[in-house]
């Protein structure tokens, strides 16, 4: 059965009011989640927010205590009955250190059996950039290499919903690029990806939509642009040709506040201001008119990071 959101988009995941408890601990509370099929959806939140629990439910490792969850059109009625095509990892890539990289994938492929449609192992290793170490035991792999092999293992069954918990952990820039490319291609081919992170900057370049979870509740879910719009005044680092004069101009501009502590490292060639975008638009021409060259104007914290921090801090303080 197909499921759609109110705008008619097909949904790969629809959760309504799901609650999951572990003994006395409420891991998730009345969570609603829509994941549009064919998109990369980010799940972000501080440590212990409930991201891994939510991803575990999507993988079918357990069922919610309350609420309804539909994955790829199938209701999650009981544990370990996720629809075909749902795969991924939670709590790390989960590999067997005594086996080689190829051995891990071969064993998992054999577990699925000859009837299952599994991807070509060499192609997968190539995709994640591990062809050179295919014959090496995983015991000697770095965290980043394990993450990439974990991704390859998840891709083995040609997923239609890929669920990844902190896939960027331990990845170097090259590794991130590999993973980024793999996930983008997967989404382009029509699969849905749900991935978690506790860092917004990991998700900014990749996700169409994000869901922010804090202390077991959803505090935001929607397109990234909407999250940025909803944000408050941000801190910007300003580098000019004349810092002294620039500070005076900034202080005189309406809506601009010069701040001494914006979390940026001490820098004699820069200072920070807190402003909304319209005020910032006003400041730049004023600096130019005053004969001050603007050499750099960058957010101290990204807009999404700032919004994330604001929302999660607000949620935590309200509990």
């Amino acid at each position: 059965m197909q499921i759609e959101d109110i705008t008619g988009n097909r949904l790969a995941v629809r959760a309504r009011g799901i609650t999951k408890c572990f003994d006395d601990v409420v891991a998730l509370e009345a969570v609603d989640l829509d994941v549009v099929a064919g998109q990369i959806h980010g799940l972000v939140g501080p440590n212990g927010a409930g991201k891994t629990t939510l991803l575990g439910l999507l993988l079918g490792l357990a069922v919610p205590d309350l609420g309804s969850l539909e994955v790829l059109g199938m209701p999650a009625g009981r544990a370990l009955a996720a629809p075909d095509g749902v795969t991924g990892f939670v709590d790390g890539p989960g590999l067997y250190p005594a086996l080689t990289a190829r051995g891990n994938l071969a064993a998992l492929s054999a577990l699925r059996g000859p009837g299952a449609q599994t991807a070509n192992i060499d192609e997968l290793l190539e995709q994640v950039g591990l062809s050179d170490v295919a014959g090496d035991r995983v015991r000697g792999f770095s965290l980043g290499m394990r993450q990439r092999l974990g991704l390859a293992a998840a891709l083995l069954t040609k997923p239609r919903l890929l669920v990844l918990d902190e896939p960027y952990n331990g990845l170097d820039p090259a590794g991130k690029k590999h993973v980024h490319g793999v996930l983008t291609r997967l989404a382009a081919d029509g699969a849905t990806v749900v991935l978690s992170s506790h860092r917004m900057d990991d998700l900014e370049a990749l996700c169409s939509e994000v869901t922010i979870v804090s202390t077991g509740r959803v505090v935001f879910s929607g397109p990234l642009g909407k999250l940025a719009d909803a944000s408050r005044a941000l801190d910007y680092r300003l580098v000019t040709s004349d810092q002294q004069a620039a500070r005076q101009v900034a202080a005189a501009t309406p809506g601009i506040r010069v701040i001494d502590d914006a979390g940026a490292r001490p820098d004699s060639e820069a200072f920070a201001v807190r402003a909304l975008l319209p005020a910032l638009d006003e400041l730049v021409p004023r600096l130019v008119q005053a004969g001050i060259a603007v050499r750099g104007l960058t957010p101290v914290v990204s807009p999404l990071e700032s919004a994330f921090l604001a929302l999660t801090e607000q949620q935590e303080s309200s509990r």
Partner: protein, 454 residues
């Protein structure tokens, strides 16, 4: 947002069969260096050890059958079995069964199995079967290696049983194999305890140590004085009860009781492990185990099995005492002396006397009183053996033995005169020097045999 190519129906994938999951488990187990090392050690180590020790001047005479390692290759195989039951089998069950579930917790790999196999029941069966298969390979290796080492080092010759009678090489071979089969039952019990610990204790290293710990505790318990019914209700007794195969008639009561008890422990511990496993919530992958779970699902049920088994055995056999009673010790010693005297006579004088001609009797007392009717284990048994000298009218021979009787029924009889019967370690025979079978020998009291006295 774009429309997608997700199919309208997302079928639930077929579950992976137990056979496929079993193969997956075997691949993982056999990829571990420690398992490979164990297999190598079990298939090579006992053979080399038996072959080397058999050639030494000094034999492990304090080990059952150790004193016969010069005489026959089958003794070496049984020394390996005794050592394995005491030390090796608890350790290998720890390494294999004690880690089979907890390794998935440690490595964070449950989701592979869960998402693919989709059935905790099948996962449990596959894991249990795989670990048992590896255990079986290890045990088979020890058995075959010990036999091959003994036969290659000394040869296939008759074996002196625990009542002094001679077993032909064919019978010895059959009994050695049967003894290894009997040890399967307590090994299964330890393996099940390993599975239970592995499920209940998760990533905690205690799960890995549990079978070894349980094996040592149960072994120590066998050294304590306790009623025979309780002793036989412990699975560790089945590591010893194969001794009864080497008497004539075979002491099958303790053997069968020990095996049944062990299998009951194995079934109970496996069932508890299964219940714990299928009830587990896998959303939280971090499973550090819990002592409460171990007590609720491990200690209490197994204590219940122990109590029920002891009650049933006590009711069925009346073995509420130690099982080591004066008349049983006397009978066992007299029978064994007769067989060994016949052996000695044959070696020394080529005489073919029969046990019926010898009409051996023994009179034993414990604690310094030769007429004491008390029983129980201890090294203070003193016995006088009497027999009719063949060919000499109404002449009777007598020999003294000090007995050290273990709580499990095994004893060592140490000759205390006269010198010409049991005073010399070696005999000068027409074909060379040979160990004097009457100097010191091992025997076995049937703990469940009814006493002949009223």
């Amino acid at each position: 947002m774009t429309a997608t190519r997700i199919p309208s129906e997302a079928p639930v994938a077929a579950r992976v069969s137990v056979a496929r999951a079993y193969r997956f488990e075997l691949v993982k187990l056999l990829a571990q260096w420690r398992v490979r090392l164990l297999i190598l050690a079990c298939w090579i180590g006992p053979g080399i050890a038996v072959a080397v020790v058999s050639q030494q001047a000094s034999l492990p005479a304090d080990t059952l059958f150790g004193r016969w390692m010069h005489a026959t290759g089958w003794a070496g195989a049984l020394v390996v079995l005794g050592f394995a039951g005491n030390w090796v089998l608890p350790l290998i069950t720890s390494v294999v069964a004690g880690d089979v579930f907890s390794s998935e917790d440690r490595l964070g790999t449950w989701r592979h199995l869960l998402v693919a196999v989709r059935s905790p029941r099948r996962i449990f069966i596959a894991k249990a079967l795989a670990s048992l298969s590896v255990l079986f390979v290890l045990m088979a290796g020890m058995a075959i290696s010990g036999i091959v080492g003994g036969i290659a080092g000394i040869g296939s010759r008759p074996l002196v049983g625990l009542d002094g009678h001679l077993l032909s090489p064919g019978d010895a071979f059959g009994n050695v194999l049967l003894a290894w089969v009997c040890v399967l039952a307590p090994t299964l019990a330890l393996a099940a305890i390993g599975l239970l610990g592995s499920v209940a204790l998760g990533r905690s290293p205690m799960g890995l140590l549990l079978p070894a710990f349980a094996g040592i505790v149960l072994q120590l318990a066998q050294a304590l004085p306790m009623p025979a019914a309780v002793r036989l209700a412990l699975p560790s007794y089945a590591f010893l009860s194969w001794n009864g195969l080497f008497t004539g008639p075979q002491q099958l009561g303790p053997l069968l009781a020990g095996s049944a008890v062990s299998l009951t422990w194995a079934v109970t511990a496996t069932a508890m492990a299964y219940l714990l496993f299928v009830r587990r919530d896998f959303t939280s992958m971090a499973n550090d185990g819990s002592v409460r779970r171990v007590i609720t699902f491990g200690v209490l049920p197994l204590a219940g099995v122990l109590a029920v088994s002891a009650g049933v055995l006590a009711g069925a056999t009346g073995a509420t005492g130690s099982g080591i009673e004066q008349d049983k010790v006397q009978q066992s010693l007299a029978t064994e002396f007769g067989h060994l005297y016949r052996l000695q006579s044959g070696e020394l004088y080529h005489l073919n006397v029969t046990e019926a001609q010898l009409r051996v009797t023994a009179s034993c007392g414990k604690g310094g009183s030769p007429t004491s009717a008390s029983g129980g284990p201890g090294n203070d048994w003193r016995c006088t053996v009497s027999w009719h000298l063949p060919g000499v009218n109404d002449a009777t021979g007598q020999a003294i033995y000090q007995l050290d009787v273990n709580p499990n029924g095994r004893y060592v009889a140490d000759g205390d005169g006269p010198q010409e019967v049991n005073g010399y370690f070696m005999l000068h025979t027409s074909v060379g020097d040979a160990p004097n079978p009457l100097w010191q020998f091992d025997g076995l009291v049937d703990l469940l045999a009814p006493t002949s006295k009223g």
